[in-house]
Symmetry: C2
Subunit: 223 residues, 2 copies
Amino acid sequence: MDLSPVAEDYLKAIYHLEDEYGRSVRTTEISEELDVTSPTVTSMLDSLDERGLVDYTPYQGVELTDRGEEIVLQLVRNHRLLETFLMEYLDYSWSTVHDEADRLEHHVSDEFTRRLARFLGEPATDPHGDPIPDADLRMPDESPYTPLTEYEPGDNVTVEQVPHRDPDVREYLSQHRIGPGTRLVVDEVSPIDLVTVVPSSTDTSVALPTHVARRIGARAVTK
Amino acid sequence: MDLSPVAEDYLKAIYHLEDEYGRSVRTTEISEELDVTSPTVTSMLDSLDERGLVDYTPYQGVELTDRGEEIVLQLVRNHRLLETFLMEYLDYSWSTVHDEADRLEHHVSDEFTRRLARFLGEPATDPHGDPIPDADLRMPDESPYTPLTEYEPGDNVTVEQVPHRDPDVREYLSQHRIGPGTRLVVDEVSPIDLVTVVPSSTDTSVALPTHVARRIGARAVTK
DNA sequence: AGATGGATTTAGACCAGGCTAATTATTCTC
DNA sequence: GAGAATAATTAGCCTGGTCTAAATCCATCT
């Protein structure tokens, strides 16, 4: 299967949207995710369906087939290993590493990834705390971290996993010094979709909407 | 300047052909180098000329402008640093490293290359013995190695630089165990465009056409 | 110097991936 | 259950990079 980077990006988008909403994905969602118009999406879905990479029912939605998911998992593996390399050896910061990996993931060979994984010591998670699929593209079990939304006010935790695909979220967290390794105290978990936390490095309260806090994985600090 | 990998490949081809023949480059030469038809080359030359990257005179030939050359030098820098990384850290062999680097060179950012160069210790040559342009894209001085064609029968030398862009040449040399670091004795330098050598590892005589031998750089072994 | 052959360009077509405008499905609301 | 609103698709066009077939340039050779 010889797939263009563009087609691969559509598969990735479908994968992430399926994951986010737990259901089949609609045309508009993809068009927003990739910043293209919906007719463009429709025609790409036709073509991906023909190639057996998605199941697409016009007007109803689209899902990845097993073959489509396999391609995405290889990309995820490429991406997370590249991020690990970029941060550990080239001193990229966690908030800048994504774009570089997002380009390169489409262009490295399987051979490269195999060798890079060995060089890095076959890591199971990347520096954002996200799991790395193994060479057979099996995704490791669910992450052992607890979402920030599950903690109580006063809890003292270490951030282990941060959402970083959305540039706005990434920028916000980075600006407020919240990243992998950050120690913080949960201040308030409000019913109006808000969590406030105090990073121990700054002592300034930071507000987080629930959809962000839910994706921040943390470990309780054992005093 | 936002250039497609395809356009970059045309610039590279022109660069290498100018270098090889020391004159402006003809359409057919490019079409053979890149394995596309000549009308395709003509239309790309029009487009590169419009963008100020080449000087193209229909029916006469084409040369790189300074801006075109700058782009190529950045690609050469990317390529040679990538090759260095792939061989030194990921254990690629000198004969397999080219293709991976040839794809990636188009997709790494300048930031990546800067950081990779630092990680590698700002090397001045790659593992094939080819010079790496510095951060300001200045190519280091001519290589200190002497072409195999300049030696006399009986001379004992170490190979330091091997041509590796042409897959057939690469395959031939690799098959006959001639690569960077190979010790060999020059057997015969024939006037009919042939040099024969005996690698010390095999004791079998290997014939090399002059156009290949001329591109193999070697250093005399001081006994 | 003119004819001929090889190199080159022009003409016209195709595909991938994008767009806008118009049409058609679906869903929501009363 | 019928219209209105929204979502999705179809129609038609564009650009970059490719092709084949046809026309044209140019160098050479008698």
